[in-house]
Amino acid sequence: MGHVRPTDEQFFRTMIRLRHVEKALSDLSASGQLRGSLHLCEGQEACPAGACAALEKEDYLTATYRGHGYVLAKGTSLDKLIAEVLGRSTGLCKGKGGKMHLFDQEFGVLGTNGIVGAGVGTACGAALASKLDGTNRVAMTVFGDGANNQGHLMECWNMAVLYKLPVIFFCENNLYSEMTPLSRSHGNINLSERARGFGLHTESVNGNDPHAVFEVVSKTADRARQGQGPTFIEAMTYRTTGHYQADSGTAYRTKEEVEDWRSRSPILLLKQRIGAIAEEIEAEELAIVQASVTKALSEPTPNPNQAMTEVFA
């Protein structure tokens, strides 16, 4: 069961596209063309690349404000995603959802989310639906280390174990929630141990290795499909940029720490491994992303009367 593991080159392509998307968005934010919070996942690209490659198109996904990489890796159209982030009527949600609220039914994306931890219930609900309607779809929900402290998660974990829901709790442990390290927000920083306390099966993985992430998600998705219930995956990773555009990312972390993780960036590692072809792929993806941004910028903003539509079904 499951997919063929992508090659280094394929993973590199997914990740470098994401990096280019983020660079383009940062530039727009810096020049004032993009307003509001912009949460980047620089350094964490192996998580979305590895995890989504292991899921079926129909499998469900919920993620965070930092989750655009998962949405893209799940298969969503780059053009539509960029258009949404730029508030265009051609976007995934016609410009009404925005950066933090990306949805795409076609690919099972039930939303990135602005509320820390809130997508977890949604994924468990989708997993319950999959049990009831017999579609055997798995639901994966992505959240951060900080989100582990929200009561909502713990309530859902309990029910997921109780009902043996086919759900994957994918925790991106990037060591910080905003500017706070785990040691200053978690009484017990061993997140897997905490999850095991709820009866969850747990896995730990190097979140900077897309192959390892792929393997562990494949395995746990199979487990879920076979009726063996939920898994908590702790992926160790690091965002090498600030929490969002207004944070330099250096006030609460040492330069050495950031540099050390930078040197272990999944993009850098794969680039070294695949050699000369990397630059070719990089250039191709840059062109694709630039074209997408240019296209979105030329597209219309929503018609003013759209403000009042779709309040009800």
Partner: protein, 331 residues
């Protein structure tokens, strides 16, 4: 003597002085200590009330992202005799703590027939900022002003941010202190007096006029002041009534103004339908009916979740032009 500063600085100064004066006062919230708060209201606090190197400091307490949990803890500390100030990174996140605020903080004094007090301040930015979209743009003032047992303060000026915060901390009840993010950088003056307070439950007239009363609170009062300037050019003399305190509500000041001008527009950023401005309008109609020369008009936020695109977002937030149009409708 007076001091010039921003709304943000006035809040910080007020809280800091009260914490210096009274060891029972402390502040808790997400990333407020070492990081000094997302909106930087607690800038410099960790050095003054704790230490940067400590894992946590009880008087400037960094909390995990657990709104429901830390609100409950704040309430418990208040019931045990302290005076906590709970910062919500944005008021939108206080939705996760509604049970604690409404079912516990607001009711305990009544349920115990006055035996147990809950002197706590819940504060933070509320309302739309810059394209933060549907989940981060809630006003929440009207929601809280619906709840008996809470006091709800919405200062519009720098002096009031300073003086009302002191009153909120001194109050023996749970107080919701609503700071519109658009106000943090507004400049103004405060009296050079660390004992300065602004009484809770008193509205004020910020501009006298004879033709129409513009009734609002928080940032909408600033919008009213700007609209009054525009309308003055058309020869319409507006009186700007700054409600400041929603609960308790000073109807007397509002009524006196309406009795003078015979017309009123009420503006609020919250959803127009069922927002707190609707309550103000209904009080005016009920109690000043014979004084009115025209129906009282509401200007409120569009009744939709906040859309993301900038052009749509702007349509949802009441503007000076909206107020001017509303005035022209009845004048």
């Amino acid at each position: 003597m007076s001091l010039e500063m921003t709304y943000r600085e006035a809040l910080a100064k007020s809280i800091e002085e009260e914490m210096q004066k009274n060891p029972e006062v402390f502040i808790m919230g997400e990333d407020i200590g070492r990081y000094q708060g997302t909106f930087k209201v607690t800038r410099g606090f960790v050095e003054k009330f704790g230490s940067r190197s400590a894992n946590y400091n009880y008087r400037i307490l960094d909390t995990p992202i657990t709104e429901c949990g830390f609100t409950g803890i704040g309430i418990g500390a208040a019931m045990a005799g302290l005076r906590p100030i709970v910062e919500f990174m944005t008021m939108s996140f206080s939705i996760l703590a509604l049970d604690q605020i409404i079912n516990h903080a607001a009711k305990v004094h009544y349920m115990t027939n006055g035996e147990v007090k809950c002197p706590i301040v819940f504060r933070g930015p509320g309302g739309a900022a810059k394209q933060l979209s549907a989940q981060h743009s809630h006003s929440m003032d009207g929601w809280y002003a619906h709840v008996p047992g809470l006091k709800v303060l919405c200062p519009a000026t720098v002096a009031d941010a300073y003086g009302m915060m002191k009153s909120a901390i001194a109050d023996d009840n749970p107080v919701i202190f609503y700071e519109n993010p658009g106000l943090y950088t507004v400049k103004g003056e405060i009296p050079d007096d660390i004992n300065y307070t602004v009484p809770i439950g008193k509205a004020q007239i910020l501009r006298e006029g004879k033709d129409i009363s513009l009734v609002g609170y928080s940032r909408m009062t600033q919008v009213h002041l700007a609209a009054a300037e525009l309308l003055a050019k058309d020869g319409i003399d507006c009186e700007v009534v700054d409600v400041r305190s929603l609960l308790p509500l000073d109807t007397e000041t509002i009524y006196n103004s309406v009795r003078k001008t015979h017309r009123a527009v009420v503006t609020y950023e919250d959803w127009r339908s069922g927002g707190f401005g609707a309550e103000i309008v209904s009080r005016i109609q009920e109690d000043c009916f014979d004084d009115l020369d025209a129906p009282v008009v509401r200007v409120g936020g569009l009744n939709v979740p906040m859309p993301y695109a900038r052009n749509l977002e702007l349509l949802c937030i009441p503007s000076e032009e909206d107020v001017v149009a509303a005035v022209h409708k009845i004048r």
